[in-house]
Structures are given as structure tokens and as C-alpha cells.
């Protein structure tokens, strides 16, 4: 306001006591019935854009998990795998290994090293050796052991591989496949 100080001085007298409390309004703009219209580009683009939050609200863009199980009469294996996950979020694999026989039995879980190479971080309980195998698990009759893997994918896209179960009375593998959203 420094630049207008001189002008302020000269106009102060003219502007003095020019106040009013009741408020009139300037002429309003002309009105017409307002209708909703869109350009052809908006007619296509807006629904496409809104598709993303809609899919998200339906859960299509969130993590998804699948559960499955198999048994050979001596062992029961239940597994839970994250089949869809977002980039930089871990894929979880849970293996529940139940010894159906009365005696104690040994089992080793071997995770395909090509599968493991698709992840930047691998956390396993019990820990895996450099071949991707757990230590030999001694499981009492009727007991269940749990193997947990948390795998952070290196890239978006499909990741897949095999997990094998080798031990007393079992030699079988399952296929794993997950999609990593960008």
C-alpha cells in the first residue's frame, strides 16, 4: 500500500463517511434451464476413469487369497496363498502340514529357487537354506506344523513356481501363481 499512500491522502476526504448498511445487489445474470451435457470425450473418459474406483470398491484391485488342501491318506497339506497383491506388498504363503499317521514322521518343504528369484525379499519361518528348503520337520502323529513365507515381489506381473513336499510317505508338489498389480 506504500505506493498508494499519496493517492490515499488526496482521496481520503472524498471517501470519508461513505458507508451503508443495507445491501442491494447488482443485476443478476440472465438465467436459462441448466442441463447436464458432456463432450464425446467426457462421455467415454469419465466412465473409464470412474471404473477404477468402482473396481477398487468391489475389491478387484485389492489383495486376494486362495486356500486349498490335498491329502494322500498319510499327510494333509493345507495352503493359503496371496494370488493377487499390489506392488511392493508381500505375497503370503502359509503351509499347514498335518501328519495323519500315528507315528512321528519327517518332512521337508522345498520352494522352487526360480520362484524365489522373482522376489526381492524372502522371509520364511522356519528359515530356508540356499536351495530353498526348510530344515527336516519332525512332526508327531496327528500334529500339524506350519511353514510361513512372506515374499516381496521384484516386479509387477505374474509370479509363479512350485513348492514340493518330500518326506516319509509323501513326494508331491503344488503350483503357485500370483498376480502383482503395478
Amino acid at each position: 500500500m506504500a505506493s498508494s499512500a499519496g493517492v490515499l491522502k488526496s482521496s481520503t476526504r472524498a471517501n470519508r463517511k461513505r458507508v451503508v448498511d443495507n445491501i442491494a445487489q447488482p443485476p443478476p445474470p440472465p438465467d436459462f434451464p441448466r442441463r447436464f451435457r458432456v463432450t464425446p470425450l467426457q462421455a467415454v473418459g469419465i466412465p473409464l476413469l470412474l471404473l477404477l474406483p468402482a473396481l477398487h470398491l468391489l475389491g478387484v484391485l485389492d489383495a486376494a487369497t486362495t486356500r486349498a488342501a490335498f491329502t494322500n491318506g498319510e499327510w494333509q497339506v493345507e495352503y493359503e496363498l496371496t494370488t493377487r497383491q499390489r506392488y511392493q506388498k508381500p505375497v503370503h504363503l502359509r503351509l499347514h502340514l498335518t501328519n495323519l499317521a500315528p507315528a512321528i514322521r519327517a518332512l521337508t518343504v522345498v520352494v522352487d529357487s526360480a520362484y524365489l528369484s522373482q522376489f526381492v525379499e524372502v522371509r520364511a519361518t522356519p528359515p530356508l537354506d540356499h536351495h530353498g528348503a526348510t530344515p527336516v520337520l519332525e512332526i508327531a502323529g496327528g500334529a500339524t506344523a506350519v511353514v510361513r513365507l512372506d515374499l516381496t515381489p521384484a516386479m509387477p506381473g505374474w509370479v509363479g513356481g512350485e513348492v514340493a513336499f518330500r518326506g516319509d510317505g509323501i513326494d508331491r508338489a503344488i503350483r503357485l501363481r500370483s498376480f502383482i498389480l503395478p
Partner: protein
Amino acid sequence: MDTVVRVTLVYFFLMAAMRVIGKREFGELGPFDIVVLLLIPEMITNALTQSDDSLTNAFVGVATLVGLVFLTSVLTYRFRWAERAIEGSPTVLVQHGYLVPRQLERERISPDELLAAMHQAGIETMDQVKWAILSTDGKISIVPWHPGERNPHPGERIPGM
């Protein structure tokens, strides 16, 4: 689910907050206003993204925001009540050469600021001003008397107003 809900909540919260602080804050950003506007995104970023840096999350967030902006523009255009509620209405600061103090106080506009706007419009005295209006975007518009028009009450209070 979370991202859509969070973006929607933050959008309406910010819209309400901006509506409450008033038009003036948008018209001219002072240093304090800029600091506030820089800090707000810093504070809400984590609340919106929940540490999910994926493109999917970013695209869902942006699509939600763009959808809300489009919906708001449709509502404000189509319905007057929505236009008034969301954008507000213009505020008369000067009518027929007279200040309206109540309006200036509500909008926290000093006479000096009004005078500066008059000077920018090439006007020196109040009786040259037919209307001074604070628009919904925070800018002060000065409407002078037209050459053919004449202030009916130059230099005096208009009776009954």
C-alpha cells in the same frame, strides 16, 4: 476400498474447510497462506496413501479425485443450491459509491485493500464506484459508473439505504 473412502473424506473435508475460511483466502495468497497450503498436502499424504506406493493406489486415488471434481462441477452447474453451498455467492463490498462495512468485516477486507483494487481499476474516489464485488474466486471486481450514468447522490448518504 480404503483409498476411495479416504480420498472422498479428505476431498469433502478440504472443500468444507476452504469454504469456511472464505473467498478472500483464495484471491491473494500471502506468505502465511502459502505455508498453510504447502503443509496441508504434507499432512494428508500418508493418510491418503497409507504407505502404499503402488501405481494402482495412485491411479485409484487420482481417478477418485477427478471423479469427485467432475461430480462437483456437474452439481454446481445443474443445481443452484449446490452452487451456493459449494462455491458461495459474490459479496457486495461497495454499492453506488458506499462501503458496506458489515460485508467488509465478514470477509476481512480492509478499506485499504479495497482502495488498492479501485486504483488498479483506475478509480480514485468511492463516488466513482457503482459496485465493488468480491467474487467467489476471491478477486475484487470494480464496476464504475458508465459514462452515460451518473451517481445520483455523489458525496452523500443515499436515503433509505
